[in-house]
Symmetry: C2
Subunit: 151 residues, 2 copies
């Protein structure tokens, strides 16, 4: 396989923001409880430097994240990834979400306010973001540390 030249940190940040703000962007959402690891793909919105997910309140992902306040997210493809460690800032019922709901509906291809179920928006604050493509990009993959961009 041909391995491309490693991107600069500034380029990785630009590529990362392009992924997170793309229409119909999805992420793999890993959460955990005493019962073990859980993982599902979900749509996201990127609003005010926060990852916003919409989850049914009874779902395992919602229960795990509300209880443990942490998630790890993978965006992009397995050989062009963005990894985000995030903490839960707040969980907002769909009917009370205002601008969050508008922003989510604008970026996503669905609107949880129109869906049956007990949807909540989870507002997650990234604390660490990494981005790499292949092994040649493992060095320099750290883009955010302790909630602060490095580029």
């Amino acid at each position: 396989m041909t391995v491309d030249e490693a991107r600069s940190r500034a380029q990785r940040k630009a590529d990362t923001l392009a992924k997170l703000t793309a229409p119909e962007a999805d992420v793999w959402v890993a959460s955990a409880s005493d019962a073990g690891p859980y993982l599902v793909p979900l749509s996201l919105a990127w609003l005010d430097e926060r990852v916003v997910l919409a989850v049914d309140g009874s779902s395992r992902t919602a229960r795990n994240i509300v209880e443990h306040r942490a998630a790890r997210l993978g965006a992009g493809h397995t050989r062009d990834v963005v990894m985000i460690d995030a903490v839960l800032e707040r969980a907002v019922p769909a009917a009370e979400a205002g601008a969050i709901a508008e922003g989510y509906a604008a970026q996503s291809d669905w609107d949880p306010r129109q869906a049956p179920g007990d949807y909540h928006y989870l507002v997650l604050r990234p604390t660490r973001i990494q981005a790499w493509r292949e092994s040649n990009e493992l060095a320099g993959r750290l883009l955010m540390r302790d909630g602060a961009w490095l580029a």
Copy 2:
């Protein structure tokens, strides 16, 4: 968005096996510890109905899975997914892996036996497999239950 017709269970099983046996197949691997959820993309091999991963023994994924004996894997794309719940059957040091190492090298695009580090193969036995594309395929997504294929 146009939603295609839902696939039959037999077709989903065929599509799932095609994904798992493809050259250079990757999966998102979620594991957990008391420190919370962890997630990384890794190459896999599908050998004798087992998912085989190669991990450095000191990696967080290796430590989580060896300690807690469980992982949840996502293959494919976020809108054409295969979700696998799996338990650890055994962990084999690279130098002692024999046919496992040969099978892994044949399907993957790298050979952990040639890499620096303390690589082990994790042989994971699927207990539950689900496959769906969009919301129209959520019904019928269960393909394996308690380690037995349903199709």
